[in-house]
Amino acid sequence: MSSSANTNETRSWLWRVNPTHAAGHAGLLVGLLVLWETGSRTGLLDPLILPAPTAILAALWQIAVVDRLLWGHFGITLYEAMAGFVIGSAIGIALAIGAALWEPFRRYSAPYVVGLQVTPRIALAPIVIAWLGFGTTPNVAIAALLCFFPPFLNTMTGLLDVDRDLQEMFRSLRASKRQVFTQLMLPTALPYMMAGLKTAMTMALIGAIVGEFISASEGLGVLMHRFTFQLNMAATFAVLVALTLMGLLLFALMEWVDNRIVFWRHDERMQEISRKRAAREAGRAATETPGTARVAPAGRT
């Protein structure tokens, strides 16, 4: 339990920008950009290696707004990453549940799991492409293959980390096996699962891009490949910026989902839920006994 809380905290430490430092952050960013721009304009930086920020921005404008070239590819990559993420995570979680509930499966699958983990799975990409041919399908498969591991491992760890005293309590209440699973093991595992899913999301995007690098006809990876080939570095960097934005989008999405699902790891969310429930209860009391309702909430606070 504490380990997953720690991962969450580390993440939020990276993620959270203290508002009092906002000016500092903005100043630093602007400073770096100005330095970079000056470097490019004075010829200190070769535009074939590192184009100027304004050039990258112009290229982004060109491919995104003028040519409208970016969006189709953006959609393809997003689709591959998301589909790979969903498939990979679903397989990972399903296998983890099987392994957690069924000891022989856990025992006999462990060597293969370790084998698969120590293999740099990205090396399977060419093989997957050889199997599945061209188009988006192999890239979805590569994304799935790359991202399935963290949800698998985290879900299993979480399911096996159930508090012994809570287990005893459920036993004393004569809970069925099914109830122990759905009401105790699964909620215990959820924070771990979410941490695994966040990592999986990042990995799925890497998988999709690498797949596109190797062989594909559409996607941001293809676009980058094409632009570097044309020595259009500004446009290449513009695509990279688009990828960063996609990564941020997916990250924010996962943070939002985490906040909803694992609400008991987020103090503000818990307080919000508590407030809403109390308000609903008060509302219900008001409709039932209109006479006393006005007095009760005031008396309580």
């Binding site: 005893e168 004569r174 009401q183 818990m270």
Partner: protein
């Protein structure tokens, strides 16, 4: 008048039915004898304290009554039926609050009901009433993480009472709390169980706490875990804190302490 009423109460208790009966109750873990041939009876409505040093088998005895630990030998029956596993007429409260952190306070109290089937509106008002009883009326929708340790144990107490069993087994329920909170919760517990007229078995390693709460104190000595004596506590229940200063009470504490020192020299 007061005295004669107490005497009729005492007589009523004497004639009360036996709810827990153990004969030659044994438990060993490998070569460790945790409970050695215990014989005892617990009558309806009685408050029993089990007291003894760490490792003398208090928890093991309690867990056997709860049906959580199988016995190695002897016989044990609750409400006339042999104990074979966890059962509905017995509720257990543990040393830790064992609350589900993803459920609100009232949802935690309703857990025993939810596990048995649907939670009705009547169940919800019962749960709220129990929260009022343990002094948590304003925290029904809070999450356990936002409560202090003492408040969490009260939630666990409310949940125990929601089970609706007539036998309550409490294993050092307030042991992890500071002395002020513990004393306060002991008083509340003693008031609540005498109102509800349930049978209680309370484990502690604090002698004066054991005596303060109980009708009878089961004194256990270690290696092997043995039920060395059953001490009757003559003061009427529920009790006031002033009892702690009563010379008879102080004598009784000394007598129980004596049992331990004898056990050690023997």
């Amino acid at each position: 008048m007061q005295v004669s009423q107490d005497m009729t109460m005492a007589r009523a208790k004497a004639s009360a039915t036996t709810v827990v009966e153990a004969r030659g109750l044994d438990k060993s873990f490998g070569s460790v004898i945790a409970v050695d041939k215990a014989d005892f009876e617990i009558k309806r409505g009685e408050f029993i304290s089990i007291v003894g040093p760490s490792g003398c088998g208090k928890s093991t005895l309690l867990r056997m009554i709860a049906g959580l630990t199988p016995r190695s030998g002897g016989s044990l029956s609750v409400n006339g039926r042999e104990v074979t596993g966890p059962r509905g007429d017995v509720g257990v409260m543990f040393q830790k609050p064992t609350l589900l952190e993803w459920k609100t306070v009232i949802e935690n109290v309703l857990l025993p009901t939810a596990l048995k089937g649907r939670v009705s509106e009547a169940d919800r008002s019962k749960a709220q009433a129990l929260l009022n009883l343990v002094g948590l009326q304003d925290f029904a929708h809070a999450f356990p993480r936002h409560l202090s340790g003492g408040m969490q144990q009260r939630v666990a107490l409310a949940r125990l009472l929601k089970i609706g069993s007539d036998i309550l087994l409490l294993d050092e329920p307030f042991g992890a709390l500071d002395e002020f909170t513990r004393e306060h919760l002991n008083l509340e517990l003693s008031r609540i169980v005498s109102d509800a007229n349930v049978t209680s078995v309370f484990v502690t390693h604090n002698i004066s706490e054991a005596i303060f709460l109980a009708d009878k104190v089961f004194v256990m000595t270690p290696r092997p875990g043995r039920l060395a004596a059953v001490v009757d506590v003559p003061f009427p229940r529920p009790r006031e804190l002033s009892l702690l200063a009563n010379p008879d009470f102080v004598d009784l504490v000394a007598r129980v302490r004596d049992i331990f020192s004898k056990g050690e020299t023997a």
